[in-house]
């Protein structure tokens, strides 16, 4: 039941993005006569503090959120997996060095480090993605290293090595495919955490810049008018919560599906 709900919410938001594109809703259309208006027939979810349609901005915001989440996850996964595999496969000094670097990044809270990077790089979409990528690869590196350490002594890897397979081939053809299920599950959790981080940075004014829509910035504006127009903050807050919850539940379901031990039970 929960699984269906999670997939339903995800499907709903993906459809909403597509429909938003189709109907060409303008998230930046200002209407000073409709400032903080409650939902109506014209504006289904009401208006923000500049009279812009909350629905149009939500749809644009989720598009940006998904773009950031997918891009950052792709970059961090690639970097993290590469570092983790090299450390796990070679071991010794290479492992020691790479894991020490990883530990340095792990020592700082990820979001705090992202805030520091975003503050140094300046606000903006690209800088936001760079800031989140700089801190997001660590969990992939640790996970991959652990898995690679246990996989490198498997019979098929040793056989390939004795037949003269190169290191890239060994890693790409014989180890990486065995990591896929673990990495996919990790990626779903990472998607959710990147979306929260993006919203947090935008909430602090370090993310997407005005007039572009972002859920974090909308949440910040909504809080400002919490007493005057509670519908604004509630709509944005519930949207963010539902999407994050759906991604996490989706990740749980995927983990259960890919868990070999559970299947054996």
């Amino acid at each position: 039941m929960i699984k269906i709900l999670a997939y339903g919410i995800l499907l709903f938001w993906l459809l909403a993005v597509v429909l938003g594109r189709l109907f060409q809703l303008d998230p930046n259309q200002i209407d000073l006569n409709a400032i903080l208006s409650t939902p109506s027939q014209v504006y289904w979810l009401g208006n923000d503090d500049l009279g812009r349609s909350i629905l149009a901005r939500l749809l644009h915001g989720v598009e940006v959120s998904l773009l950031v989440a997918l891009s950052v996850t792709a970059v961090t996964m690639t970097v993290g997996v590469l570092i983790g595999m090299l450390a796990g496969f070679y071991g010794g000094r290479v492992d020691q060095f790479l894991m020490q670097v990883t530990d340095v990044f792990l020592a700082f809270p990820g979001i705090l480090l992202a805030i520091a990077f975003a503050a140094v790089l300046g606000p903006g979409l690209l800088n936001l993605m760079i800031a989140l990528s700089l801190t997001g690869w660590v969990s992939y590196a640790r996970l991959t290293r652990g898995q690679t350490l246990s996989l490198r002594d498997r019979q098929h890897v040793l056989a390939a090595l004795s037949l003269g397979a190169s290191v890239p081939r060994l890693l790409g053809k014989h180890i990486l495919p065995l990591l896929t299920s673990v990495l996919v599950v990790e990626a779903t959790y990472s998607l959710a955490s990147v979306m929260i981080a993006e919203a947090s940075l935008s909430f602090l004014g370090l993310g997407i810049q005005a007039p572009n829509a972002s859920w974090g910035a909308m949440l910040r504006d909504g809080v400002r008018y919490m007493l005057v127009a509670p519908h604004y903050v509630l709509i944005v807050g519930l949207s963010l919560m539902s999407l994050i919850l759906a991604i996490n539940l989706g990740g749980d379901s995927l983990r259960d599906r890919l868990d070999v031990r559970q299947e054996a039970d």
Partner: protein, 502 residues
């Protein structure tokens, strides 16, 4: 036994009467120990005072509070003309002024410490000299530069002091608005920033979690508490945790408070001037027609009507129309995007004209910038908004690293501002000509003190785009009386505010 009690009570009564008779009736020590019958008034402020030493204070909160803790020689009337406060003055020559302290008894109040009882003494000309001598001697005071023209100060007697200048300065009295400090404490480098000792109507008793003040006249206690978040500030007022808030709320929130039956909201016109700064060295913005196009591309009245406080009004010049040096209302540039587009085309600009607008991260500033961005689009101007944290933003403005920016002049009192903001030789760090505006004709007018001609020239040449004077408001519980917001946002009415218990 009963006789002993009667004798003891009689002696005690005599002692009290004798002691009371020794003290002067107006002594602040009496008032400070007097328990006020009215309840404490709690005032929620958005920013804590940073420095209560008037020689160092530069933030708005400290300056507002210092006006109540200290007294100055000079203040301003409702036309912003300098007027006697503690002293009257006479210009003896272009280089000398005589200030005579009023006969009205002014007392410094020294709060009681563990070792010493509270005491008070009269403010004299020696205190005036000590205060201004110390300011000129300080190298790290933001106010020192204003007094660089001061040659020396001579005390004639306890009530008379002479100020000698290095060069003539017609506006010199208007600069003597800093609070006067007691000479003996200046000498021992007392920490006025945390333990202020002044002769103002209020005295600071506590500065730990809150700023506890007491009025010397009647013992009324007033507490200032810092509540940074505007929504929390508003909630505290609605739930009667605080009695008073002032400024720093969006107009929608002010309207929300106006509708609350237990609250009173008072609004007033403001004098703080908001403007759109232009870099006149920019290849496009140095053209007058482009600047005129920008002025015609913003619908100021619509913005005022829809997203600003009641009593906000169109701005024409830095000084408001009621200022003694202004006394004229300049015609506003009408919103006409078609005309703006034509002007741009006449200036040889290929449309859309791309401009970058820098502003702080303040939510209301960003909101206004976004509206202007939308309005300018209709005139063929593509405005890119860049919001920066305050320190970075202000540093870039001072360095001239901008095309357009939005700022507000706060607390400007004298017409000297026109020379400082637009004089050709007043480019930062020397002055405030941040737009690097060069105009020989204006420089000539600035030297004549013909302020009406100066403002007309500025209005015509548009080295900045005038926007508005934002209105002021204060919201308070129904039981609060004798408090109104002031045009420059000061808190002077804390000297008269009263509260009655429900």
């Amino acid at each position: 036994m009963l006789l002993h009690y009667r004798l003891l009570s009689g002696l005690l009564l005599c002692s009290i009467l004798t002691l009371t008779a020794c003290k002067p009736p107006s002594s602040p020590s009496d008032s400070i120990n007097k328990a006020s019958t009215s309840p404490e008034i709690v005032f929620a402020i958005s920013q804590a005072p940073l420095n209560l030493d008037p020689r160092y204070a530069s933030d708005a909160t400290s300056e507002r509070l210092n006006r109540l803790l200290y007294q100055s020689l000079v203040d301003f009337d409702h036309h912003t003309k300098p007027q006697p406060n503690l002293a009257t003055w006479q210009q003896l020559s272009p280089l000398s002024y005589r200030f005579t302290l009023s006969e009205q008894c002014r007392l410094f109040y020294y709060p009681a410490s563990a070792e010493h009882k509270a005491k008070a003494r009269k403010l004299t000309a020696y205190d005036v000299k000590a205060t201004y001598d110390s300011i000129t001697a300080l190298s790290d005071s933001p106010h020192s530069a204003e007094f660089s023209n001061l040659k020396n100060i001579v005390v004639v007697n306890e009530r008379t002091v002479l100020f000698y200048l290095k060069a003539p300065d017609r506006h010199f009295p208007a600069k003597l608005v800093l609070g006067i400090l007691p000479a003996e404490l200046v000498k021992v480098k007392h920490d006025f920033a945390h333990f202020p000792v002044g002769s103002g109507p209020l005295v600071l008793l506590e500065a730990k979690n809150k700023w506890g003040l007491q009025r010397l006249d009647d013992g009324q206690r007033i507490s200032l508490i810092e509540v940074k978040d505007p929504t929390v500030r508003m909630l505290k007022l609605v739930h009667a945790e605080v009695d008073l808030i002032q400024g720093d709320l969006p107009p929608e929130s002010v309207r929300y408070l106006q509708a609350k039956p237990g609250l009173t909201v008072k609004t007033a016109v403001g004098v703080n001037f908001s403007y759109l700064g232009l870099n006149t060295q920019d290849p496009q913005l140095k053209k007058l027609k482009v600047r005129q196009a920008l002025a015609h591309a913003i619908d100021r009245q619509e913005i005022i009507n829809k997203v600003m406080l009641q009593h906000s009004r169109l701005g024409g010049a830095i000084l408001p129309p009621e200022h003694y040096a202004q006394r004229q209302t300049l015609p506003a540039y009408a919103y006409d995007p078609a005309l703006a587009k034509r002007l741009l085309q006449q200036a040889g600009v290929s449309l859309p004209l791309k401009l970058v607008y820098k502003t702080s991260t303040d939510a209301q500033r960003l909101r206004l910038a976004t509206i202007m961005q939308a309005q300018m689009r209709a005139a063929g101007i593509d405005l890119e908004i860049r919001s920066l944290d305050w320190a970075t933003f202000f540093a870039e403005i001072k360095q001239g690293n901008f095309q357009l920016y939005g700022l507000t002049w706060v607390g400007v009192k004298t017409p000297e501002i026109y020379a400082q903001a637009f004089g050709s030789d007043n480019i930062p760090p020397k002055g405030f000509n941040r737009g690097r505006y060069q105009d020989a004709e204006l420089d000539k007018l600035l030297s004549t003190d013909d302020w009406q001609a100066v403002t007309q020239r500025i209005h015509q040449q548009l080295p900045y785009i005038p926007l508005w004077y934002e209105g002021q408001f204060a919201a308070m519980q129904k039981g609060i009386e004798n408090y109104s917001p002031k045009a420059d946002g000061n808190w002077d009415d804390l000297a008269t505010i009263s509260a009655y218990a429900h």
